[in-house]
Amino acid sequence: MEEFTYTNIFATKGIEYIVIIAFFATLIPFRMMLKKKKEPALVAEKASGFITASMLRIPQGVFFSKFHTWAHMEINGEATVGLDDLLIHLTGEVRLITYKNPGEQIKKGELLAKIKHNGNSLNVLSPVSGEITSTNSSLHENPGLIKVDPYQKGWIYSLKPSNWKTETNAYYLAEDATSWAIMELERFKDFLAVSATKTEQQPLGVVMQDGGELIEKPLKGMPKEVWDDFQKNFLS
């Protein structure tokens, strides 16, 4: 058996151990590498942590009402309605409760939905009147949709408007909407500064004085009085 050869296993063992140790050592960074990146929109939000005018999404073809709700008419004459981006940024992780069903009527200024968070709630009012034709079922399955895409996938109701022309007459559109949103953001900062002194919410005050930027979801930790004030000043 001349052709029979032995491998000297001891000669190679040292390197083999090193290879195995290298395997386990690289397994850890490899595992860390195998992580999904988050949705880009959410990354941007997390990275900055501040609400600025430039990050607000304000589509130029949507009517914005002073209730911080929007309405948009489709080609078929039906309109979708929903919450605007500023309101979503201010309130943050919330539950949205809707009350209307398809076939029911809704009036402008009537309750569109309720935002609930830790026992506090806000009434969001409808921008237009009409008969509701459908509700957004995917919003129920995936409530985060309203944050990711508030103007398209995040619509709340679709309705047949009854008085579209006169009701949307005074609403903000295109560059008006942009400048109005910037104004509202500034107004909210003032509002917060006032309520902070009222309720002694120190941390927020510090942030405001430092750089004048709003942190993300400023209403989140606020007491009930501030939520009520916000309802009165911004959503009515």
């Binding site: 052709e3 083999e16 290879v19 290298a22 397994l27 999904k36």
Partner: protein, 407 residues
Amino acid sequence: MTSPAYPIQDKQEKQSVWRFIFQELKPRGKWLTPFNIISLPVILVGLGLIVLRFTNGLGAVSNVSQDIPWGLWKGFNVVTGVAFAGGAYVLTFIVYILRVKKYQSIVRVTVLNGFLAYMFYAGALVLDLGKPWNIFNPLIGNSFGASSVLFLVAWHFMLYIVAQFLEFSPAIAEWINARKAHKILSGLTVGAVIFGITLSTLHQSGLGALFLMAKEKIHPLWYSEFIPLLFLVSSVFAGLSMVIFEGSISQKVFFNQITKENRQARNNMVLSLSKICAYTLFAYLFMQIIVLVHGQHLNLLTTPMGYWYLLEIIGFVVLPIFLFVFAYRNSNILLTRIAAIVTILGIILNRLNVSIIAFRWDAATHYVPSWMEIVISLAIIFIQIWIFRWVINRMPVIRKSPSWAKH
């Protein structure tokens, strides 16, 4: 409210199962699709050549010889095809044993794919046998040959085909509306799955074990006593890459059969599968390195065969690892498909290396398959795809099961 329509229809269908099957055998849909135009001539020529092979003998169509007895049919159809069928045992393990329900919607199509792969690729073995009628010997005991690895492989193939047929059989029962049979067959599924997983892990490595007898004939960079283990581990990502690749095609071809929610869930599944592929490829890479070190063949890496070996390892193991990781991180479906294709090519390369290219690499004459061998190989694959399509268009494989079959 009672509806008389339902039971009556039920009875009618029961009476005419055979007529129903006969009806279903007729072709459906458009005939002149690009795929048919390419595949049909290949199949017809291939069938003609197969007849020629059985009437005039192996030498008439194939370039294999006494020196190089293993050609394209074994190296490609059998050894490589079986690796790609590995997706079935991996997925059934995940769904039925680990109970990860999210892959449920692709289990049936994968099992069908595996079943057909075994039928046809193991069937291709018959073509290669000098005395094909002897293939039954290990089963009927004319000459068991129990000391041979082939004995093991033959029994495993046979039993595994039966197990996969059992796993798939509820779909057939749903198709012919056999409710009682469906109940019984569904109950058998988990048993068949456990049986099937045992068998397939054993014979994936068993196929590798076949090469242990050819130590002197295989180039040392590809030969090692760990071939069985390497074959087993690589069958995991080979099978899953095939699931990703095949899924991306059937998502287009059978678009209408996939329910809306499954369509959305599919992308998620593909991403999770690419994660598993990345892990197993990563482990496989280190196993290859250890085998290389253990065999003390580092000096061979600078020879021409060494470069070829490095191409296989770097181009088709390391590269797909990065592709899968990158695709997973960025949720990039297109990239997972590219990674899957690179992996599939890598597996083909690896199996052909072991069985053909590095096999008798030092011989004076090298084996090059004849055009007839290639046509027959392709014909076998095309026939399999035709049957696959036929089944999917008729049975609830991708589409939803009928409501009565819900558990």
